[in-house]
Amino acid sequence: MEDIKILSELIPGEKGKVKQITGEGTLKRKLLDMGVIPGSDVEVIKVAPLGDPIDIKIKGYHLSLRKEEAKQISIKV
């Protein structure tokens, strides 16, 4: 069974595949350039000590982004 979640809702250790990136402009382009494209494997590794931002593993490296930004990314769990 396939479940769609928002990246910002995932807890550390949860994995999935990028489904879609919503929104426009600089942020979306940056995410694409950094390898956040539909179909990529993602795993949430950590949440910062104060609860934001988060650290995800994608294309074999660590990427950090704010939860606000992670809201634009939907994930197939």
Partner: protein
């Protein structure tokens, strides 16, 4: 003698791929730093002689892509297209190959000769993976060289390959990224319109512009703005994007990025063998501690304290040597040149000015060394990660913390320079703008003097604490206001790589320290020297005639009163009157622009006390207490003004340079701080008087 043949090589690559290390290995100390015209991005260039050739190596800014959204990327792209380096070396972190090669797909489409340097190839092997470099080279159509930058391996091989390619002894193949039939069709339509009548595309290949247009890239749209059939092209882009959106149910830029990654993924599947999928490497282990929920913040605080300590405490002896040197120089000049205007000009104006520039130099060097250490080790990104939650609430970035901290009890000059760690222009400007609000070391003597004079000891500590709290509140609220009103609509995101931890090389650290430190002397130095001479003249002219029967101290006091600076003080008296101050406060504030601690010595001169040392101002304290024109409320108003008003001119000169020589932002800083200071002092003095407190 045979003239050496010249050859230009540009180094391109992602941030953290080890590009700087390779640049340093190749060029050693034969490098210099400048600026790309019109932008603040640094241009690093160096030379190396090899096999009868003189290679000019250009270290392009580290970028993940070549889109138009960041200054760095635009600079890298423009350099490659317009300056046409003979060979582009793309340095790839082989241990993170897929994301690194994304840049390759775009470099390749610029149709330039490329050599791929697979850096950190030792890490790949250590992890138990292997790369078939011959196969990868065949798939990507470019020669590949294995390098290990931090062990200085593969450099000769790299130069040799570059030379071979340049001399045509090896061939490269054009690669074609398969964007699929749908996109290819649209690209063809756009390309056809672009090629109409052989129009100039600023030297960009037609296909490149066509792809960038489909991606909705703003700089590509700028390129076609001058074309005769601009309307027609824009129309076609609109149609094409619309058509593709319907077809793929997603934006064309997503599909294009997907196809690029697909191309890389295809090449890697055939050439990279991952034997063990390592779940947690060493970096992950370190992060378990460094980013731990409970340890993260204490470790951050300890690192920041360490940088601060290192910058200010460890540099103390060196700063002392510099002071001694300039004192000695002043003394030497004074003993040769007879007393009078020329001596005063040389000693106080020129040597004092040069001393003012170089006095900060050790601080700047020590700070950049410690920052470079934490940057190169990979910690800086973590520091931003830990602090971002708090900082972002005020429109700042996680990395804004460091400059503000360096300024607190330290100095805004290295503080403003430390904003170089911030990538987005907006984040940098806001941070630079609020950094001077922090209480720097030079403001402390003013506070100590006035708090000591007007607030009894038990209140004193509270007052001091209040000042610190106020400075922090001011900085954060200013940041918030700037974000809300001045930079509204501009977004800066936090999408940032957390690079693997690495052990920095001493050579790399020293080069980085020197290069940034030297930039300070070169760029801010001349302005600082010029202004210090102007300030000297303001307090020296017009000269007063010698008077008999008057003590030396009184002459100095009278000289100050009737100098240009004194006259300005009197001129602005109406403006400082509502703050409870008279012309003496005005002159002191004006002199504080030279350096904040000068406020104290200026008051000393006004009160005819001769030379007053900023740190030991006992007699001045007495004089202030006795002077009926001061009161605790007026003192507080004065302190408030000193806390907020414009930074010293050294900090302003650095701000001007670091803001990209922007008069707009520098005047804004002056205006913003002065207005805020005036309003705050006004509210305190008038409010206090109304309420009858301390009047």
């Amino acid at each position: 003698m045979v003239n050496k043949k010249n050859l230009t090589v540009a180094l391109a690559g992602n941030p953290n791929c080890g590009k700087s290390t390779i640049f340093n290995n190749l060029t050693g100390s034969r490098q210099h730093v400048g600026n790309y015209p019109g932008v603040t991005v640094e241009k690093k260039e160096g030379n190396v002689a090899y096999n009868g050739y003189d290679f000019t190596v250009v270290d392009l800014p580290g970028t993940y892509s070549l889109s138009a959204y960041s200054e760095d990327e635009a600079v890298a792209r423009d350099y490659i297209v317009k300056e046409k380096p003979d060979v582009v070396v793309h340095i790839v972190d082989a241990s993170n190959i897929e994301r690194n090669l994304y840049l390759y797909t775009q470099l390749a489409e610029l149709d330039v000769p490329i050599v791929l340097a697979m850096n950190m190839s030792d890490i790949v092997e250590k992890k138990g993976n292997s790369i078939d470099y011959d196969e990868l080279s065949r798939l990507l159509g470019k020669p590949i060289v294995k390098t290990v930058g931090n062990k200085n391996k593969g450099m000769e091989d790299l130069l040799e390959t570059v030379l071979k390619l340049y001399e045509g002894r090896i061939k490269i193949e054009k690669i074609k990224i398969d964007y699929g039939e749908e996109i290819a069709q649209e690209l063809k339509k756009i390309a056809k319109l672009l090629s109409k009548g052989k129009q100039s595309l600023n030297e960009y290949p037609v296909k490149w512009i066509a792809i960038k247009l489909l991606e909705n890239d703003s700089s590509a749209i700028d390129v076609i703005k001058k074309l005769s059939n601009e309307e027609e092209i824009l129309d076609q882009i609109e149609k094409s994007r619309h058509h593709l959106k319907l077809h793929f149910e997603d934006d064309p830029e997503v599909i294009i990025a997907d196809r690029r990654y697909g191309f890389i993924s295809g090449a890697c599947t055939q050439s990279v063998r991952i034997t063990v999928e390592e779940r947690h490497d060493r970096s992950d282990q370190i992060d378990k501690i460094i980013l731990n929920r409970f340890l993260g913040l204490p470790i951050f605080a300890a690192v920041m304290y360490g940088i601060f300590k290192f910058t200010f405490t460890f540099s103390e002896p060196v700063v002392g040597w510099f002071e001694l040197l300039f004192e000695w120089m002043g003394g030497a000049v004074a003993s040769v040149v007879p007393e009078g205007l020329i001596q005063s000009f040389l000693v106080d104006g020129v040597i004092g000015g040069v001393g003012g520039v170089l006095g900060f130099f050790p601080l700047v060097l020590f700070m950049f060394f410690s920052i470079a250490f934490f940057e190169d080790s990979g910690y800086m990104a973590r520091a931003a990660f830990v602090m971002d939650k708090i900082m972002s609430k005020f429109g700042l970035h996680g990395k804004s913390f460091l400059p503000m901290m360096i300024s607190t009890n330290g100095c805004a000059v290295p503080g403003i320079m430390a904003t170089r760690t911030l990538d987005s222009k907006k984040d940098r400007l806001i941070t630079m703008m609020v950094t001077p609000f922090m209480i720097c070391g030079a403001k402390l003597p003013i506070f100590a003097l006035f708090i000591g004079a007007f607030f009894p000891s038990e209140q004193g500590a509270n007052m001091m604490f209040l000042m610190y709290v106020l400075s922090i509140l001011l900085a954060f609220s200013s940041a918030w206001i700037l974000k809300k009103f001045v930079f509204k609509g501009e977004t800066a995101h936090f999408v940032m790589e957390l690079p693997p931890y690495r052990i920095p090389t001493l050579k790399g650290l020293l080069l980085k320290m020197w290069e940034r430190g030297w930039l300070y002397v070169k760029k801010a130095g001349t302005i600082i020297l010029l202004i210090s001479i102007i300030i000297w003249a303001g307090f020296t002219f017009p000269q007063m005639d010698a008077q008999e029967g008057v003590s030396e101290e009184s002459v100095a006091s009278m000289q100050m009163e009737q100098s240009y600076a004194g006259r300005i003080g009197k001129f602005i008296e109406p403006a400082v009157k509502p703050l409870g101050l008279d012309w003496r406060g005005g002159v002191a504030l004006i002199s504080g622009v030279a350096a904040k601690e000068v406020v104290v010595s200026t008051l000393g001169t006004i009160y005819s006390l001769g030379e007053v040392d900023a740190e030991e101002a006992g007699s001045l304290k007495e004089a202030l207490i006795k002077d009926a024109s001061w009161s605790p409320l007026k003192a507080l108003s004065f302190l408030m003004f000193c806390l907020i008003y414009l930074p010293c001119f050294v900090a302003m000169a650095v701000f001007y340079r670091e803001s990209g020589s922007s008069w707009k932002w520098t005047s804004f800083l002056v205006f913003w701080t002065t207005v805020m200071a005036w309003v705050a002092s006004f509210v305190i003095y008038q409010g206090g008087t109304l309420l009858g407190i301390g009047g």
